[in-house]
């Protein structure tokens, strides 16, 4: 989770990832951010997030993203 938070801070400086679980719905992070984040996650966690995974539910909060990583077999 810490690694994920580091990635998030790095990709989207200034966004408070802990305070919201509507990151996508409220347009706090955009598809551009998502793509950047996914790129980082894929290389850092060694997982392969596919297009089908790119739905708001998986990116609305840091926890949701972490859950996705775990589901794809990339958790610590």
């Amino acid at each position: 989770m810490e690694k994920l938070m580091r990635i998030l801070e790095d990709c989207c400086p200034g966004v408070d990832f802990t305070g919201s679980d509507r990151l996508i719905d409220d347009d706090i992070i955009t598809s551009l951010n998502i793509v950047m984040i996914v790129g980082e996650i894929n290389s850092e966690f060694g997982v392969s997030i596919s297009v089908n995974d790119l739905v708001p539910e998986n990116f609305n909060s840091a926890q949701a993203m972490y859950d996705l990583i775990v589901r794809l077999g990339g958790g610590e």
Partner: protein
């Protein structure tokens, strides 16, 4: 029939009446019949193209569905070679999808561009041959996008393919979406179409309000500004910089009122049947950045591009491998940004090419994609700058500045594609700055827009702006109006209908929608 006509409104009223008078089970057939009447009244030949697309995509989706079923069944067998099965299944599905998409977009490209390609080839070779004069079926871009999205959803296993061909035909040819979108998703639209909706007074009322609002925007603003804008863009060199600049601004206003007005009208029409179509606009000119703008303008296209082009590109292996390699050369940050930036530029190139042939449209795509990438690259620097200037993110002045800046950037991009040639578009912009001087103020009112039209357009624009501003602040003018005295409500509706009836009968020559022939 033009949707801006009394005939269409009468047709709509009749269709609504029949819909609610029919037993629920067969109501969807009423929608199909209405769609067929609407589409075939425009052109029977275009109907043939539509039928072809319906048949091809229906069949391809069924095949994709069958392949998926088979794959799942095979995987369910214990001890099956999962990886191998998946790979093989994927390969087959890909082949079918690719074939169907090529056919789909190939039809679009041929009908849209073959003539212009042939013309340039002829120019190049110095030949003269007759134009093919291919017919561009009404709404072809939109139903091609919609059916392609549907195919990809089936391919991804997100939805099950529709088995009933007639139902599928209704999904593809639902008449309100056939003029200029919005591009609807199967999982959202189809259930509403097939359900046999109850008469919902709130929804019907909302639908009627949307229709009035959309027609007024089109008639009172877009159509009034169009002659002036067209005159200047047709020959910018004839005007001083102030006028070319003004025309660029007016074009943005015209385009919004035209496009969103048309979409309001058709969404309203759809709503009369209890069918809620995708949103297409969210007060785009209040956007604070290009990125924001594209999430508020032509939303259904933006979403489509995101889901079916941007994400696949951004997650594609070759692009990511390249990004990783660059990370080694130019550092982490560059590597991070590479994939989203390249994908963005490619997506906007696609949007530009979809708009039309010619370098102007390519420039339009590069401009928007480039600006969006630039915004991402500069985001940290901008944040630091704001901090240094002690600008609060929620400062009103900053907000206004950002909206105006976004508006200007968008308007500039449109000059590239809207001017007769890219070169003229650039000239227009340079001219606006270099030769701004309004030599003769009278010229301001004499480039195709009469003084009465100016007053009408500006008054209506003020109303639209006020309503949008209220909306941006979370105030719904519609809800506010609902609470007013019935007499006032009656007066407002009466006035709206009066303007429409007075303007929209015999003798009114509808100016076709900007996006109607795309």
């Amino acid at each position: 029939m033009s949707i801006m006509s009394g005939v269409f409104l009468l047709f709509l009223a009749a269709a609504v009446a029949v819909y609610y008078l029919t037993p629920k089970k067969v109501r969807w057939l009423v929608l199909l019949a209405a769609s067929a009447v609407f589409y075939l009244s425009a052109s029977v030949k275009a109907g043939a193209y539509l039928l072809l697309t319906i048949a091809v995509t229906y069949a391809a989706a069924r095949v994709l569905g069958a392949l998926l079923e088979r794959e799942r069944a095979a995987l369910a067998v214990p001890g099956a070679p999962a990886a191998q099965l998946r790979r093989r299944g994927l390969r087959r599905r890909r082949l079918v999808l690719a074939g169907a998409l090529v056919l789909n977009f190939g039809t679009l490209a041929v009908l849209k561009y073959l003539d212009s390609w042939l013309a340039s080839a002829q120019r190049l070779l110095g030949l003269t041959a007759p134009r093919l004069g291919l017919l561009l079926p009404l709404g072809i871009s939109f139903y091609i996008f919609q059916t392609s999205g549907y195919l990809m959803d089936v391919y991804r296993g997100k939805i099950k393919p529709e088995r009933n061909l007639l139902k599928y035909a209704l999904f593809t040819a639902w008449f309100p979406q056939m003029v200029q979108g919005p591009i609807n998703r199967y999982d959202k639209l189809a259930p509403q179409l097939f359900a046999g909706n109850d008469f919902d007074p709130d929804g019907v009322k909302y639908g009627l309000q949307l229709i009035l609002w959309g027609m007024l925007k089109k008639m009172l603003i877009a159509d009034k500004l169009a002659p002036g804008v067209n005159a200047v863009f047709a020959d910018p060199t004839a005007y001083t910089g102030a006028i070319t600049g003004l025309a660029a601004v007016l074009y943005s206003i015209q385009l919004y009122c035209d496009f969103s007005g048309g979409v309001d009208l058709v969404r309203g029409a759809s709503r009369l049947f209890g069918v809620d179509m995708a949103e297409n606009f969210n007060r785009p000119y209040f956007a604070v950045s290009i990125d924001d703008f594209w999430r508020r303008w032509h939303i259904s296209l933006g979403e489509w591009m995101k889901d079916y082009l941007f994400y696949p590109l951004a997650l594609s292996k070759p692009l990511n491998r390249l990004g990783k390699r660059l990370r080694g050369v130019f550092g982490r940050r560059a590597g991070q940004l590479f994939v989203p930036c390249v994908s963005t530029v490619l997506v906007f190139l696609a949007v530009g090419l979809w708009q039309g042939p010619g370098f102007g449209n390519i420039a339009y795509g590069l401009w928007n994609g480039g600006l969006m990438s630039l915004g991402m690259i500069c985001a940290p620097a901008c944040a630091r700058l704001r901090a240094a200037l002690r600008l609060r993110d929620d400062s009103k002045l900053l907000r206004i500045f950002r909206s105006l800046r976004t508006f200007a950037l968008v308007a500039i991009g449109r000059c590239f594609s809207q001017a007769p040639t890219f070169r003229l578009g650039v000239w227009m912009l340079a001219h606006t700055v270099a030769a701004f001087g309004p030599k003769d103020p009278a010229l301001l009112v004499s480039f195709g827009i009469g003084s009465v039209d100016w007053i009408v357009a500006l008054t209506a624009l003020a109303v639209v702006f006020a309503v949008s501003l209220a909306g941006e602040r979370g105030v719904s003018v519609r809800a506010w109006l609902d609470r007013r005295h019935p007499v006032l409500q009656f007066a407002v509706v009466f006035l709206a209908v009066l303007i429409i009836v007075a303007g929209l009968s015999e003798g009114y020559v509808p100016i076709s929608y900007v996006y109607e022939n795309i």
